[in-house]
Every structure is written in structure tokens, then in C-alpha cells.
Amino acid sequence: MKNTLFFFLACALLFGVQETAAQVTIFQVVTKRIEKTFNYRDGYEVNIEGEKAEVQVETWEKNEIGIQLDLISKHPDKKIAERDLAAIKYLAERIKNKIYVRNYISTEEGAPKPEAHLSAKYIIKLPKDCPVYLKNYFGIAKVSDLSNRLRVNSEFSRIGLQNLKGIIDVKTRFGDLQGRHLDGIMAINSRRSDIVLRDLKGKLDIEAFYGTIELFEFEGISHLNILAEKTDIFLFDSNLQAYGYSLTSNFGKIDYPGDLRFKVLEPSENLKKIEFKPSKEFYPNITITISFGDVHLEKEKKKAKP
């Protein structure tokens, strides 16, 4: 009896494994790697336009711009993967003082529509003072260590910014933005995107529609201005009383720790206006105007910086 039970259990397990194994497909991956280097001069700008691409921008000590672009084609049939790789086109060229890097899909007239899964991956290395303009449509963008000017225009993409200085201008639609160690003049325009920023210095202006904004540790900020609609805002800092506040909320709540002695100017149910000025002469100002969303201020214990 015991043996029969064991036999049935073993069979069930085996069929179960087969059932699971049948779902998995082995894809043949063909990657075309392109490497190109441009000499860098003051005044040059790198202009990246990625589509379904993972873009990584980092810095190096060389006075050159190094581009490594992987065009990737995946399909269970190796021949189809190889054939469809030709459908992803790229461009990497210098026109006057701009270095353009771009990928896109284009098929010859009469050629079959690509069946393979296609994507692109960039690793771009450049001097830290090289200005960058990055446009990404579907994909991921990671930028680190730049110190001059960065402009990002992204749709349906995840953006990661780290250790940046200078002018930072980000526009995002249906994407998410994460940033850490940012210092400079920053402007963010987001639509249906979630924003998480940590360790901020300088000046920050955010305009947001439909999403969430989370800011952690902004001790070095000199000015913070948020204009938001249908967005929830969360501010976490260890020294909240060091800032001056001007908060306005239409159809939303404003939560703050009890020891912050805020002056309530407009206590009506739909419209709330709150102000606070620290006792010292100079302080950073935080201005938030929001409708159909909540503002939440919370003291965060200071953590050791990594």
C-alpha cells in the first residue's frame, strides 16, 4: 500500500515538473556589440536617443567619449534572431559640437516584420564636465557622476540618477525617477511618474501630476518648490524645523510632527494654508502648492552616509 502511494506521488511530482518545464522556452540571444570613441573638446554635448534601451552614462578620466552599444535580438530560432537583428539600426556620429547616438527599428521595404524580441543597451563613458541630453522611450536610464549639465526627457522609462552636480533638468511621463546625492539647480517635470530623491543640495523645483514624490534628507537644499496635482508628497528629514514653510493644499491633508509650530492661515475643509518661519535669519524655503493630494512631513533619523 505504502509503495503504491509512493508510486502515485512520484508520478504526480514528475508530471508536475514536466508541466512546469513545458512553460520554459530557451531563447537564442544574438548581440551585436558596437564600440566607438570620439575625442572630447570643451563645448561638445552628447545627445542620446534610446528606444527600448537600457542607457548607462558614467564618467572616466580620459578626454574621450566612449560608446559601447549592444543591439540584442532574442528568439527560440537562432536564424530568426540573426535575421531580425538587422532590423535594429543605430547611429553614432559627430555633427559640429554634438555627438549623436541613437537606436531605432527600421525594416527594408517588403522585408518580413521582426519576430524576435529586440532591445538595445548603451554604456557611455565621458568626461564629467561633458553636458548630456538623454531622450529615452521605453527602457531604463542610469546616469552618474556628471558635474555640468544633464537634461533627460523620458517616457515609460525608469531613471536613476546618482552623484550629479550642476544643472539637472528632468522630464518624465509614465516613468519613475530615483536620485541620490544630487547637488545643483534641479528642475523636474513629471506626469504619472513616481519620484524618490535622497541627499539633496542646491535648488529644486518640481512640477508633478498624478504620482508620488518622496524626498529624503534635503539638509543642503537652499530652495524647494513643489507644484503638484493629484499627487501625494512625503518629506523625510532629520531637521524639519530648520526650514521655512509655505504649504497650500486644495482638497488634501497636510500632516506634520506636533513639535513643528506651524501657523495655520486657512483652516477650511477644502483649502489649507500653513506657514512657518524658523527663528534664525537665513533659512531655506519650502513652498508646496498641491491639489487633490496629501502632504506628509516626517522626521527621519539621520543615517550615516554611504
Partner: protein
């Protein structure tokens, strides 16, 4: 005549001595053998004495008037010009070769569970369409600005959904695209639920 011949002799005698390996001698012997063969071959080459006409012709050529100054100058510029042309060619090669990208093909495999990527996002569209038709006809909805605002939001999300679907069509489906579509669908669902309240 060397004055300190004895001192020099002693000093030379004290210098360290080395004996080369056999392979060195064998190598030298092989080289000498080759040179010997070459000398023998040269000796065996046939010799010809030119006729007097050849010598006369050379003499006439030497007696001829020397080339004009301009031609001589050209000749003196020939070598630097050739060098400059070679340099230009080299620099041109360096310049244009820097512009040619390096490419290589790499092959690998990966496993994907395709059952996760079932095309199920349009299953509820007929029901949503019916609901919208009813809601738009409702008097309550027609006069409510909130309904119009929801309708606008839905249009924006419909457009976004259509963009993601286009990308799936062009680049093939993957986890990132399905995640985006799921997020949009959840937002659409919440708006449609709000709109349903107007019926």
C-alpha cells in the same frame, strides 16, 4: 706602446669568464655556412662584358647639358613632398579609422517562461465600452465636471496603453512592458469604477 702592460694584463686576467652554450656556436656555424654558400653562388654567376656602343652611349648622356634650375628644384622637393604625402595618408587613415566602429557578434541563450506573457489585457474591453456608453448617456454624468475629468484621464491612459501595445508589437513582449501595462490597467480600472457610479 702600452705603458702599464702588466697591470692591464692582470686586470684582464681577473675579469670573469663565461663559456657560451653549444647552441650559440652551432648558430654561428650555421650563419657562416650560409654566407659561404652565398659567396660560392656569387662566384658561379655568369659574367658579361658590355660592348663599346654601351660605353659610348653613357658618355654621350654624361656630356649632355645639365637639367634646368627649375627641374633641379623640383627634384630636390620630391623627397619632402613624398614624405608629406605619406604623412597625410597616415593621418587620414588615423582620422577615418577612428570613425569606423568596432563591431562583434556574441551568442548566448536564456530561458523565458512565456506563459507569464499571455496577451490578456484586452479581454475586458467590450465590457468597458458598454459601461462607457451607458455612463455617457446618463444625465448625471453629462452635467458633472468630475465625470468629464475622469473621461479625460481615461483617454490619457488609453493612449498610454496603446503606446505600450505598439512597443510590444515592434520589439516583442518582455517583463518590463507587461509591468507598465499592468500599472496602466490598474489605473484604468480604478477610473472605470468611479465612472460606473454615474450610471
Amino acid at each position: 706602446m702600452e705603458k702599464n702592460k702588466e697591470t692591464l694584463k692582470n686586470a684582464v686576467g681577473r675579469l670573469p669568464q663565461y663559456l657560451p652554450e653549444d647552441a650559440v656556436w652551432e648558430g654561428l656555424e650555421a650563419i657562416l655556412k650560409q654566407e659561404d654558400q652565398l659567396r660560392r653562388a656569387i662566384r658561379e654567376l655568369p659574367a658579361y662584358a658590355p660592348s663599346g656602343v654601351v660605353w659610348d652611349s653613357i658618355q654621350t648622356e654624361l656630356d649632355r647639358k645639365p637639367a634646368s634650375r627649375r627641374l633641379r628644384m623640383l627634384s630636390s622637393w620630391r623627397i619632402p613632398a613624398a614624405a608629406a604625402a605619406l604623412l597625410l595618408l597616415f593621418l587620414g587613415y588615423r582620422f577615418f579609422s577612428a570613425d569606423i566602429p568596432q563591431t562583434e557578434l556574441v551568442y548566448s541563450t536564456e530561458t523565458v517562461d512565456l506563459s507569464l506573457f499571455a496577451y490578456d489585457w484586452d479581454q475586458d474591453e467590450p465590457a468597458i465600452l458598454d459601461l462607457l456608453t451607458f455612463a455617457k448617456e446618463s444625465l448625471l454624468a453629462k452635467n458633472d465636471p468630475l465625470f468629464h475629468s475622469l473621461l479625460k484621464e481615461l483617454e490619457e491612459l488609453d493612449e498610454a496603453k496603446s503606446e505600450v501595445k505598439t512597443m510590444i508589437d515592434r520589439y516583442g513582449i518582455d517583463g518590463e512592458l507587461v509591468l507598465k501595462l499592468s500599472k496602466i490597467e490598474r489605473e484604468r480600472t480604478s477610473i472605470i469604477k468611479e465612472m460606473a457610479a454615474f450610471i
